[in-house]
Amino acid sequence: MTLLEVRDLHVWFDLSGSRQLHAVQGVSLDVDAGERVGLVGESGCGKSTTILAILGLLPSSASVAGEVRLEGASILSPEEEVARPHRWRDIAMVFQGAMNALNPVKTVEAQIVEPMELHGTAEGAAARKRAGELLEMVGIAPSAGARFPHEFSGGMRQRAALAMALACDPKVLLADEPTTALDVMVQAQILELLERLARDLGLSLILVTHDLPVVAQVCERAAVMYAGEIVEEGAMERLFHSPRHPYTRMLFAATPDLYGDEDVLSIPGSPPRLDRGIVGCPFRSRCDRAFDRCERERPVLRWVEGGGSAACHLNDLPAGASAGST
């Protein structure tokens, strides 16, 4: 059963001088119950904006089109009251850099209890008890809940953020770069924790990251984003063994930077500007197999062999033919 559906999501941001930035260009994504899906791409490709849009957390400079459905019900609306009941209760989020995502003047426990009392899932002593259990689940001593965020290390803060996210027993967890800015050892621990919890609790997970090994470790399926749209989507196995988009292929082949918090993907060139209309394939300037059709026509997502979809003209060529023969 499809738990979360995103249909044809578009997001524009207002820029100075009545221009607009088309940050998300027709993204569609389905997540089933208990499924772990990765959303991969370079910074600026629109992946964070996509998941913020799912919760309706976009600023007033944004214009949105499309649909987001949770268990069939539409939750994308400027009316706060449409999305608000679902926030944290059904869909929770772990942010990049939990350092700042936690309020420095409140104790960790208080911050975990807060959504519980807000949504009425627990109160008072019962809520505090549950907070303690959650902390334990992520590997923090319950008594540490009485401390303030600045007393925790980076890794511990991220764990605390995770405990906080699980406070109301959500069905879907959105994780935006949860391990960026943590050192490698801690990264591995957090990811392992994330995967284990998702599995044990039957959570659906959308994991946003620029870091492929991260996705590979945690997710069964992934969508690759480039310049605001999904260019390929499918099971991790298939993406690795037979990618159907040059970008995906390059991503898997690129040497990841061990210390990277910024992507240092060794793909030459840079993504196209999103404040102008794109003619042809947005990836063509960096693609090693672009041909004349790529200049003229923008590829659309099509089903491919092996499952999933990809947006590349190369997939339309008859098997065995090369680009030059069109």
Partner: protein, 320 residues
């Protein structure tokens, strides 16, 4: 930073500042040449024996550095000399003046803080809207009005409804406690209102700025993701965090309150320490002038110190 260390540092700084002020006082009035420099003993219309005893007390025939030490000693005993104007001890005069100033200023400052916080939070929440612009520019305007001018404007237009001079009505014979208090309050209205209007503008800007800073923090986004309503976020989360820089800045603005007090009390002849300064200047009552300067400086230093303590309490990041 360790709590204990921080406290000690602040106390030492406060004491040092007071000491510097005392030295400036001494330096200006004893060491600098000029027609304005008179010795403490030259109290007009004083008896010879009074002058003599003052000369002895303050060692005015001794070398300067000895005078300085004597000056310090006398200060510690609360002896600031005799007022030229009414031949009373300076400290007695100042005590009474302070007692008059404090209620008036406290009322005005309190109102200013409340209005400032309300408008500041509101402006930050509604940032960019027409209301924000109006509110902010109004705050800037009031902040820019010269205090004495604002006092005069209020005097011109409101003196029909409120008394414009002094603290009490001289013609009120044998008032009951209640009548007396009402009388004082009525006289206090215009001066306090002026203080409030002069101050609130700055507070609005401070609060607005602190709130905007806070509202851009990631934990505010987290709060929204949790499903908290905007109002609740503004009040419970953002405001609480914005209190930190706000308290510090408000305390630091206390120096301006002193300036305002002097100007306001002069316009309304409110018999407080500000007015005492004005009278002292006009009548060349140098002991009073020195005394008032010292008292005002000590007050400001004291409030700055209080603000440090308050900040301490509010910010959990300064702990062992």
């Amino acid at each position: 930073m360790r709590r204990g260390d921080y406290l000690i540092k602040r106390v030492l700084f406060a004491l040092a500042t007071v000491f510097v002020a005392i030295t400036i006082n001494f330096f200006l009035f004893r060491v600098l040449p000029g027609d304005a420099v008179r010795s403490l003993a030259r109290v007009p219309r004083a008896t010879a024996s009074l002058r003599h005893s003052l000369e002895v007390q303050f060692g005015l025939d001794r070398p300067k550095w000895e005078q300085y030490l004597i000056y310090l000693r006398e200060l510690l005993h609360g002896n600031m000399g005799i007022s030229f104007t009414n031949q009373q001890p300076v400290w007695d005069n100042l005590r009474e003046d302070l007692a008059n100033t404090i209620p008036m200023v406290t009322l005005g400052t309190f109102v200013a803080i409340v209005i400032g916080i309300l408008t500041g939070v509101f402006s930050a929440w509604r940032r960019g809207t027409r209301m924000d612009q109006v509110s902010t520019n109004l705050a800037i305007a009031f902040y820019s009005f010269p205090t004495q001018w604002l006092a005069l404007v209020l005097l011109i237009y409101l003196s029909a409804w409120f008394p414009s001079h002094g603290r009490t009505d001289d013609f009120l014979i044998d008032p009951t406690w209640w009548e007396h208090t009402a009388d004082v309050l009525r006289h206090m209205f215009l001066p306090s209102l002026t203080v409030a209007l002069t101050l609130y503008g700055e507070y609005t800007l401070i609060v607005r700025s602190a709130m905007l800073e806070t509202l851009g923090e990631d934990y505010v986004l987290t709060a929204r993701a949790k499903g908290l309503s905007q109002r609740r976020i503004v009040v419970r989360h953002a405001f609480r965090n914005a209190l930190l820089p706000t308290t510090t800045l408000i305390a630091l603005s206390l120096g301006y309150i002193v300036a305002g007090v002097i100007l306001v009390e002069t316009v309304f002849s409110w018999p407080g320490i500000g007015n005492a300064v004005y009278q002292a200047v006009t009548e060349r009552d140098y002991p009073m002038l020195q005394g008032a300067f010292l008292v005002l400086t000590v007050s400001v230093v004291f409030f700055n110190f209080l603000a440090d303590l308050l900040y301490f309490r509010l910010d959990p990041r300064i702990t062992e």
